[in-house]
C-alpha cells in the first residue's frame, strides 16, 4: 500500500481536477436556482412563495402523490437489491461459480436496453401484474429491480471479490453457524460497503426514473413534475431542486447509517 502513494496526483492537480468537476456539477445547479428567482422584471421570491401558498396546493397535489410513490418504490427496490440480488450473487459466487459469467451477463444486460424498449416487453407483463397484484404504483418496483440491477451488481461484485468469501463462510460453518447465520453475521457485514453503494445508486436511479412510470401510466416523482411543469414551469423547477436536495439528504443519511459500524473499527486503529 505504501508505495501506491507515489501514484497519487499532486495536491495542485487534485485541486484543479476538483474545481473542474465541481464547476461541471455546480453550473447547472446554480443556473436552475437562479431561474426559480426570475420574474417579469428582475428577480423575486414570488415563485417560492407560490409553493407554500395554501390556495395553490390543489395544483401541486400530484407532486406529493408522486413523491410518496417514489419513496415507496425506493424502499421496495432497495429491498429487492438487498434481499434478492445480493443473496443470489452470494449463492452464485459460492456454490455455482460456473454460472458467474452468465449471471453477470444477464445482470448487466438491462443497461444496454433503452427503457422505452424495456417497456414494450414490460407492458403485457404488467397487464398480468395489474390483474393479480393491483395497479398500485409500488408494482413498478419489479421493473425497477431489473433497471437498477446493472448498477447494483458492480459494487456488490467488487465487495465479493475483495473478501475471501469461501474461506469465511467455511470458517463460520465449521464453528456451527447455519447458512442464514453465516450470511447475516459474517458475509453481510464484510460486504457492507458494496451493499451500501448498491443501495445508494438504486435510490438515485429510482428517484430519477421517468420513462417506465410514464409509459406504464404510473405516477412517480418525475411524471408528477412533468404534469405540474405544464401549469407552472417555475414551481416544477423548484420541486426538481427540492427533489435533488431530498435525494442528496437521503444519500447522506443512508451513507451515515451504513458507516456506523465502521466507526468503532476506525477509532481503534
Amino acid at each position: 500500500m505504501r508505495h501506491s502513494a507515489s501514484f497519487l496526483p499532486s495536491r495542485k492537480t487534485r485541486i484543479i481536477i476538483g474545481t473542474l468537476v465541481g464547476l461541471f456539477f455546480a453550473i447547472p445547479f446554480v443556473a436552475t436556482t437562479e431561474y426559480t428567482f426570475r420574474d417579469v422584471d428582475g428577480h423575486s421570491t414570488i415563485h417560492w412563495a407560490n409553493v407554500f401558498d395554501p390556495a395553490k396546493q390543489a395544483a401541486y397535489r400530484p407532486i406529493w402523490t408522486g413523491l410518496g410513490n417514489s419513496l415507496l418504490l425506493m424502499v421496495v427496490t432497495v429491498a429487492i437489491v438487498l434481499f434478492v440480488l445480493a443473496p443470489t450473487m452470494i449463492l452464485v459466487n459460492l456454490r455455482f461459480s460456473k454460472l458467474r459469467r452468465i449471471f453477470e451477463f444477464f445482470a448487466l444486460l438491462p443497461i444496454s436496453i433503452p427503457a422505452v424498449v424495456l417497456v414494450v416487453g414490460l407492458a403485457p407483463i404488467y397487464l398480468v401484474v395489474g390483474r393479480s397484484m393491483g395497479t398500485g404504483a409500488w408494482t413498478l418496483a419489479f421493473a425497477y429491480g431489473i433497471l437498477v440491477m446493472p448498477y447494483a451488481f458492480r459494487p456488490i461484485q467488487a465487495a465479493i471479490d475483495s473478501i475471501n468469501m469461501s474461506t469465511l463462510s467455511e470458517a463460520a460453518r465449521s464453528l456451527g453457524a447455519s447458512w442464514p447465520k453465516t450470511v447475516l453475521r459474517v458475509l453481510a457485514p464484510n460486504l457492507r460497503q458494496g451493499l451500501l453503494y448498491a443501495s445508494l445508486i438504486s435510490v438515485a436511479v429510482v428517484l430519477g426514473e421517468f420513462t417506465i412510470a410514464s409509459l406504464l401510466n404510473r405516477q412517480n416523482l418525475q411524471t408528477a413534475l412533468l404534469v405540474v411543469s405544464r401549469q407552472d414551469p417555475y414551481v416544477s423547477v423548484i420541486f426538481s431542486l427540492l427533489a435533488l436536495l431530498l435525494c442528496f439528504l437521503l444519500l447522506v443519511v443512508i451513507g451515515r447509517a451504513g458507516n456506523v459500524g465502521s466507526h468503532k473499527k476506525g477509532r481503534r486503529k
Binding site: 473478501i163 475471501n164 474461506t167 469465511l168 467455511e170 470458517a171 463460520a172 460453518r173 465449521s174 464453528l175 456451527g176 453457524a177 447455519s178 447465520k181 453475521r185 459474517v186 457485514p189 464484510n190 457492507r192 459500524g261 473499527k265 481503534r268 486503529k269
Partner: protein, 355 residues
C-alpha cells in the same frame, strides 16, 4: 471452560474412521477408497504432494464436501450426512480465516454464540482459550492488526473454544515464514497434547509431519501409500513413493538378486518384494559415510558442500554419474573437487525399477 485445560479427557476424545471413502469431482476421482482410523486423542498427519487428495480427505471429515461413497464415523457413529455446522469440529484453514469485521475476542466467541452459550460464560471461555495460545492481551485487536502467526493462533483458539470432537488443520502453517512456522508447529503439538483432542493435520511438508505427528499417512494419487509412526516411515518406508517423499535420499543404481542388493561392493537387504534385475536404491544420507582403508566403497568427487550449523551436507559425484548426498560433522571440511571414497551401512534399502 475446564475441558480445554484439563489433562486428556479420554471419555470425550473421539475416534475418527474413514471406510472405503470415494470422492469424485465430476468425472475426476480424487479419492480411491480411502481407509483411515484415527484413535482417540491421536495426532495424525495426512502427508503428500499437492493434488494427492489430502485436503479433500480433511474436508470430507469436516463435512465441507459430500462423499461420493463410503462412510465417515466419529466414535463409531455414521456422520456422513451430518452438515458441517452440526458435526462439532474445529478447523483451522490455510488462508487467514478470521472474520475481518470482528475483533479477536468476538472472533473467538463466535462458535459459542452459535451454540447459544450465555454471554458471560462465553466471554470467559473465549478469554481462557486466548490465554491458552498466549494472546489474552490481544482480545481487542482486529485481525488486520495481527501478524500472520498471531492470526493463526487466534484461529486455533477459536477452533478449540467449543471443545469440538475433532480438530482439523488444513496446512495452517504454510502461509507463515520459517521461524514462526516452527514455533507455531511446536505450540500446536503442545496444545493438542494438553487438550487431548483428536487431530487430523494436512501438510505437504514432510519435516513438519515428522516433527508433530503420532502417526503419518503418506498419500499419493488418492490413496494412502503407508501409515505409521514417523520413525517407521523414515526407517522402513514400504514403497519408493514413501521413501522419496519422507526424508532425504539419494538414488543409487544397483542390481538385485535373490532379495539382496549390492551397492558399492556392500551387500544389503531389500525392503519388500523385488524380482531380480536392475534398480535404483533410495539411500539416506546418514547411511553413507567415508570409507576407511580396506573397506569396500566407491570413489567420488565432491561437487558442493553446505554448512548447516550443526553438520555439513555434501554432494558427491560417483563414477556411474549419480549424485550422492552425505552428512558429516563440521570438523570434516570438504571442498569442491576433493576426492573421497564412500561406503554404505548395512541397512535394508527401498528399491524401484529403473524407468
Amino acid at each position: 471452560m475446564t475441558a480445554i485445560v484439563s489433562p486428556v479427557d479420554t471419555e470425550r476424545a473421539t475416534t475418527v474412521t474413514l471406510e472405503a471413502v470415494v470422492k469424485d469431482f465430476g468425472s475426476n476421482r480424487v479419492l480411491h477408497g480411502l481407509d483411515l482410523e484415527v484413535g482417540a486423542g491421536e495426532f495424525v498427519s495426512l502427508l503428500g504432494p499437492s493434488g494427492c487428495g489430502k485436503t479433500t480427505a480433511l474436508r470430507l471429515i469436516a463435512g465441507l464436501e459430500q462423499l461420493t461413497s463410503g462412510v465417515i464415523r466419529m466414535n463409531g457413529e455414521d456422520v456422513s450426512n451430518i452438515p458441517v455446522n452440526r458435526r462439532d469440529i474445529g478447523m483451522v484453514f490455510q488462508s487467514y480465516s478470521l472474520f475481518p469485521h470482528l475483533d479477536v475476542l468476538q472472533n473467538t466467541v463466535f462458535g459459542l454464540q452459535m451454540r447459544k452459550v450465555a454471554k458471560d460464560e462465553a466471554n470467559r471461555r473465549a478469554m481462557e482459550s486466548l490465554e491458552l495460545v498466549g494472546l489474552g492481551e490481544f482480545s481487542e485487536r482486529f485481525p488486520h492488526e495481527l501478524s500472520g502467526g498471531q492470526q493463526q493462533r487466534v484461529a486455533l483458539a477459536r477452533a478449540l473454544v467449543t471443545s469440538p470432537k475433532v480438530l482439523l488443520l488444513d496446512e495452517p502453517l504454510s502461509a507463515l515464514d520459517a521461524k514462526v512456522r516452527v514455533q507455531l508447529r511446536d505450540e500446536i503439538r503442545r496444545l493438542q497434547q494438553q487438550v487431548g483432542i483428536t487431530t487430523v493435520f494436512v501438510t505437504h511438508d514432510q519435516e513438519e509431519a515428522l516433527a508433530i505427528s503420532d502417526r503419518i499417512a503418506v498419500m499419493d494419487a488418492g490413496k494412502i501409500e503407508q501409515i505409521g509412526t514417523p520413525e517407521e516411515l523414515y526407517g522402513s518406508p514400504s514403497s519408493p513413493i514413501v521413501a522419496a517423499f519422507v526424508g532425504m535420499s539419494s538414488l543409487v543404481p544397483t542390481s538385485v538378486s535373490a532379495g539382496r542388493a549390492v551397492i558399492w561392493g556392500v551387500e544389503v537387504g531389500v525392503v519388500g518384494e523385488a524380482p531380480d534385475g536392475d534398480y535404483h536404491a533410495f539411500v539416506r544420507p546418514e547411511s553413507i559415510r567415508l570409507a576407511e582403508d580396506g573397506e569396500p566403497g566407491v570413489p567420488g568427487v565432491v561437487e558442493t558442500s553446505t554448512f548447516l550449523g550443526s553438520f555439513r551436507r555434501s554432494a558427491v559425484r560417483i563414477p556411474d554419474g549419480s549424485l550422492v548426498v552425505i552428512q558429516h560433522p563440521t570438523t570434516l571440511s570438504l571442498e569442491r573437487g576433493d576426492k573421497v571414497r564412500l561406503t554404505i551401512d548395512n541397512r535394508p534399502v527401498v528399491v524401484r525399477p529403473i524407468p
